[in-house]
């Protein structure tokens, strides 16, 4: 077997994202199914408004959270498979050279679906644990008849079985696709396809320092990681700011839940992205240190490019949370009395930004210490 459970365990990021997605979606979809059962019991117009608002909220949250997180989990899965194949090219090349077919090698990649299974099961179980509290919260003013928690097997199918099967199949299919390379290309380390910069651009372009060149090249060659860094800061920004607004619009507990999910997603993604950046550049860092580049210069070249990207993510998250809450208040709750007016909370944005900068810089400091520990003999271990 080429890939074992140990390899799948490295996909903890997917498990965390799947867990968060299923936790939120299960709670809201189960609530959606249960609230639909009491539609006939609603008599007053005000209760009907409230009912409609709750139904719409459940739909929006399921689609937006579920959709965004599903997309991220898929990108992360594909990234990991590609990364796995790139870092195990030689072993896979040897297997192909020995006569193993692409499919025979690729079918072992199904274990990557286990990470989805673990995440979805935890999320699903967690949702049922939180559900009594969630149902009470959603109907705390008793505007609707009592909503009882019912078990809907279809949710287990949609959020646990189907994602696991789909992610396993996707893993095998994508691995098979990525393995469609000549054996020699897999066996030879340096045979990487690198596009050539057009000559006119080289001649006319301003001459950059090596560190700046490497910073740009690192960003350019690891576009998926740029996405993850943007996603992590987006989660931090959107969820922290939204959690403060949620206190007024929903409840304090809802705000705390959102904050926890946001922070878990942000840190897991950021941690995995930066670890991958450093692991993927160990040789480059080691070589730079052999030549006499300082730790600061190594950090600037390898990690420096991601800093502006993280601010872009923060800005997108700020706009997103504002847009989503504006949409919720103006469209979903427009006919509902008692919902406080929603305005952009500038002080909360500043507090989130300061917290984000502080956390990001602390994390970068920790990683720069990790860079310091990269042995310069690393390059000699082949």
């Amino acid at each position: 077997m080429v890939i074992g459970i140990k390899n799948a365990s490295k996909l903890i990021g997917i498990s965390v994202i799947a867990c968060c997605a299923v936790l939120v979606c299960t709670m809201f979809l189960n609530f959606y199914f249960d609230i639909r059962l009491i539609e006939g019991k609603i008599t007053s117009e005000l209760s009907m408004f409230f009912y409609n608002a709750q139904v719409s909220t459940a739909k929006v949250v399921c689609l937006v959270s579920g959709g965004c997180l599903l997309l991220t989990a898929i990108v992360m899965l594909l990234f990991y498979i590609k990364h796995y194949i790139d870092t195990h090219k030689k072993e896979l090349g040897i297997l192909k050279a020995l006569g193993y077919s692409n499919l025979k090698i690729a079918k072992d990649f199904w274990v990557f679906g286990i990470s989805t299974f673990i995440g979805t099961v935890i999320g699903y179980a967690g949702a049922f644990l939180l559900m009594p509290w969630f149902y009470t919260l959603q109907n705390k003013d008793k505007m609707l008849p009592e909503i009882t928690i019912n078990y809907h097997p279809s949710i287990l199918l949609y959020f646990v079985i189907l994602p696991t099967v789909c992610f396993s199949v996707l893993s095998v299919y994508y691995a098979c696709y990525k393995l469609k390379k000549p054996v020699l290309l897999l066996l030879k380390d340096n045979l990487q396809t690198a596009s050539k910069t057009p000559k006119h651009r080289i001649e006319k372009g301003r001459e950059l320092s090596f560190v700046e060149d490497l910073r740009r090249s690192t960003l350019k060659t690891k576009k998926t990681l740029v996405f993850f860094i943007i996603f992590a800061s987006f989660c931090f920004s959107a969820m922290t700011q939204m959690s403060f607004s949620m206190k007024d619009l929903s409840s304090e507990m809802m705000g705390v839940m959102m904050l926890v999910i946001g922070l878990v997603l942000a840190f897991t993604t950021l941690f995995l992205a930066i670890t991958t950046v450093i692991n993927g550049n160990t040789k480059t860092i080691a070589m730079m240190r052999v030549f006499g580049y300082s730790q600061k210069e190594c950090c600037r070249a390898i990690l420096g490019g991601y800093r502006p990207m993280s601010y872009v993510g923060f800005a997108i998250g700020t706009v997103y949370q504002y847009g989503l809450l504006r949409l919720t208040v103006d469209i979903i709750f427009k006919d509902f009395e008692g919902i406080p007016a929603y305005e952009f909370d500038f002080p909360v944005m500043i507090i989130s930004l300061v917290a984000f900068i502080a956390i990001y810089e602390i994390l970068m400091y920790v990683y720069s210490e990790k860079i310091k520990k990269i042995s310069i003999k690393e390059i000699m271990i082949e």
Partner: protein, 230 residues
């Protein structure tokens, strides 16, 4: 002048501890061409790493013009490598996503060398300076690593089996470039190899065996890369 004094270096712990360098002392003159010769496991690469500041010995000193580099902090050692030494390895370790130009610039920037394109021309790659390592042959890649090491204008150039991954013709070509550039720039060469014939190109030959220097001799006449056997 490089002076190695009573160098001892071991790897492993407890019962598996193995002494690789056993009390080695040696002097290397400026501008010399030194070859360290020995079989696999003789400790020659470890010795090169120690005298170049890549590794610290367990005991002993390495002096560059009287200054002990084993006493330097990590930061000072980095600064020392930046200013004084260049490296060429058997596996070229070029940055795959950067062109020849930019790989050489890696060395050039450290010495604020704006004239690094001359060195790319000197190793015969002027026409290929916008190519990526994957587009070059093994010999060409090693020539890029030669240019990269020399672009930082080192006082001492350390080479660890520089022709180990090359065929005979390409190996000769690379060595020829290195020798020509030494005459032009005047740096000291310390090369590790197991190839006896390459030793004929050097001025000083140091033979190592089981972590000790077994013989040191000088060649009265140095052969060119095209005159030696292979």
């Amino acid at each position: 002048m490089i002076e190695a004094r009573d160098i001892i270096k071991s790897y492993g712990n407890g019962e598996s501890r193995f002494q690789v360098l056993k009390d080695i002392s040696l002097d290397i003159e400026d501008h010399d061409f030194v070859v360290i010769l020995g079989a696999s496991g003789s400790g020659k690469s470890t010795f090169l790493n120690v005298i170049s500041g890549l590794e610290r010995p367990d005991s002993g000193k390495v002096l560059y013009d009287g200054k002990d580099i084993t006493a330097l902090s990590d930061h000072e050692l980095t600064s020392f490598r930046k200013k004084s030494v260049g490296f060429i390895f058997q596996q070229y370790y070029l940055l795959p996503n950067m062109s020849v130009d930019k790989n050489v610039k890696m060395g050039a920037d450290l010495a604020d060398n704006k004239d690094y394109k001359t060195i790319i021309g000197a190793v015969g790659l002027g026409e290929k300076r916008h190519k990526y390592p994957s587009e070059l042959s093994g010999g060409e890649q090693q020539r890029v690593s030669v240019a990269r090491a020399l672009a930082k204008r080192p006082r001492v150039l350390f080479l660890d089996e520089p022709t180990g991954a090359l065929d005979e013709q390409t190996g000769r070509q690379v060595l020829d470039y290195i020798c020509k550039l030494q005459k032009e720039y005047g740096f000291t060469i310390v090369m590790v190899t197991h190839n006896l014939n390459i030793a004929e190109m050097a001025h000083t030959v140091i033979k190592m065996n089981s972590g000790k220097i077994s013989e040191i001799y000088t060649n009265e006449t140095q052969k060119t890369a095209y005159e030696i056997g292979w």
